[in-house]
């Protein structure tokens, strides 16, 4: 009887310890609630969300306008054809299926960068608002990634040399500020892989279309 009581007591305490340990573990994980985030992180989040929502509002207005154009044209005749052609040009420019031009920056890099470093550079430019990118003469698409090949870095089947150029179309000031911020990607690459990087604005970049077929071969459209 006493053994049974002792076992039951220990089992009960083990359960309580288990619950407490889980609670303790959860308290060590990253903050789950917005209100528990640091003020600086909340401020950054608000700034980022405000800008993102501004872009979404603009996109919603543009697409609503496009819808109105279609409705006005009745989805027939030359007006609808013009609307569709314009939409096709816009989407092919977005995906990389067509060549684009515009203002932006040129990033010249010399150094022994690994694949992670080059992918990080591209990621940084995208995050800073680059709308179209090319590495040397290869247009960067959603699925373009730099990997270590047998003897050198490669992207979309093209070899990348020790010296290469990334061209990015977007707001030159914003792109340069993002790359050159203290502790940013340029500083990191210069310090950790001894790369030499120059960044310069340009008013007229021309980026080629991708040579890849971006249409899925195995997956199908849901619509």
């Amino acid at each position: 009887m006493r053994t049974w009581v002792a076992q039951l007591s220990l089992a009960l305490i083990a359960v309580i310890i288990g619950i407490a340990l889980v609670a303790q573990f959860r308290s060590q994980a990253r903050p789950a609630e917005l209100s528990s985030l640091p003020v600086a992180e909340l401020s950054t989040r608000i700034q980022t969300l405000s800008e993102a929502n501004r872009q979404l509002r603009a996109a919603l207005a543009d697409q609503s306008s496009l819808l109105a154009d279609y409705q006005a044209a009745g989805a027939q005749g030359s007006s609808a054809l013009d609307v569709s052609r314009e939409e096709l040009r816009r989407i092919q420019a977005f995906s990389g299926e067509s060549a684009v031009q515009g203002q932006g920056i040129i990033v010249n890099v010399t150094g022994s960068l690994d694949a992670i470093a080059v992918n990080d550079l591209v990621n940084e430019l995208r995050n800073a608002g680059a709308e179209a990118l090319a590495l040397d003469d290869v247009r960067i698409t959603a699925k373009s990634v730099v990997t270590q090949g047998a003897t050198a870095l490669e992207m979309d089947g093209t070899t990348i040399g020790r010296t290469f150029t990334v061209r990015a179309i977007g707001d030159p000031d914003g792109l340069i500020a993002a790359l050159k911020r203290p502790g940013g990607i340029v500083t990191q690459l210069e310090q950790f892989v001894s790369a030499t990087i120059t960044v310069s604005p340009t008013s007229d970049l021309h980026l080629p279309a991708t040579t890849l077929n971006l249409v899925p071969e195995f997956a199908e459209s849901v619509e």
Partner: protein
Amino acid sequence: MTTLPTRARPRLRSGWVMSMAVALGVLGFVMAAQWNGEVQRASYTTSAQQALAAQALALEQEQESLQAGLAAVESQLTEIQAQSEGSQTELAAVNADLAEARLAAGLTAIHGPGVVIEIADSRRIVPVDENPGNYIVLADDLRDIVVSLWHSGAEGIAINGERLVSTSSIYGVGSSVLVNTAFLSPPFRIEAAGPPGLEERFQADPAYLGRVAHRIEAFDLEFATESQTDLLVPAFIGSTNLRWAVPEGTQ
């Protein structure tokens, strides 16, 4: 014969008391640690944080509403463009190209064979002398996984429902990861459609084995992969309007 119960009884009591003492000691330690943590967190949650958190939450809700509105308009546009098929040869041809361009750009949901990868923060209690940041999923981890998936032949990838497109970045912002316009938190679910065998190629890919696989093992990050025969990868819902880049020849 008669002495056994009198010897056994003290041993049982002594063992029981020791077990209880150890258990209660552990319980007391854990409860104290938990209580201290709660007090510490409560004292740092200021009114400024609460006001900022409320503002951030309102913006996130606005974003969901804007995305829902955009998805509805995109759906109507797709429907109109599909209706013209067969009604007028040239328009039907352009709209067929448009449907293919949307598919190529990631603006259309896709389904097919693929792999689902889930990764979350480690459940291990962080040792006192170690960096807690090692035990959580970082933007770097997600980038490594995505690079490996693309290199392994993926045709469409989404992270927690955010489809990756030409302008997508995966960026660490404090304790969150920003993908497209959404702040994501773990667990992270990466859905990738692609050729059969994608999971095996991913697991053998140098970009996966090079860094993130070591972190998963060293810090016990939660990680699982599963092949699926008919995986749904959602469409990108966001801005596709380019302000600075224009199609060549139209400037």
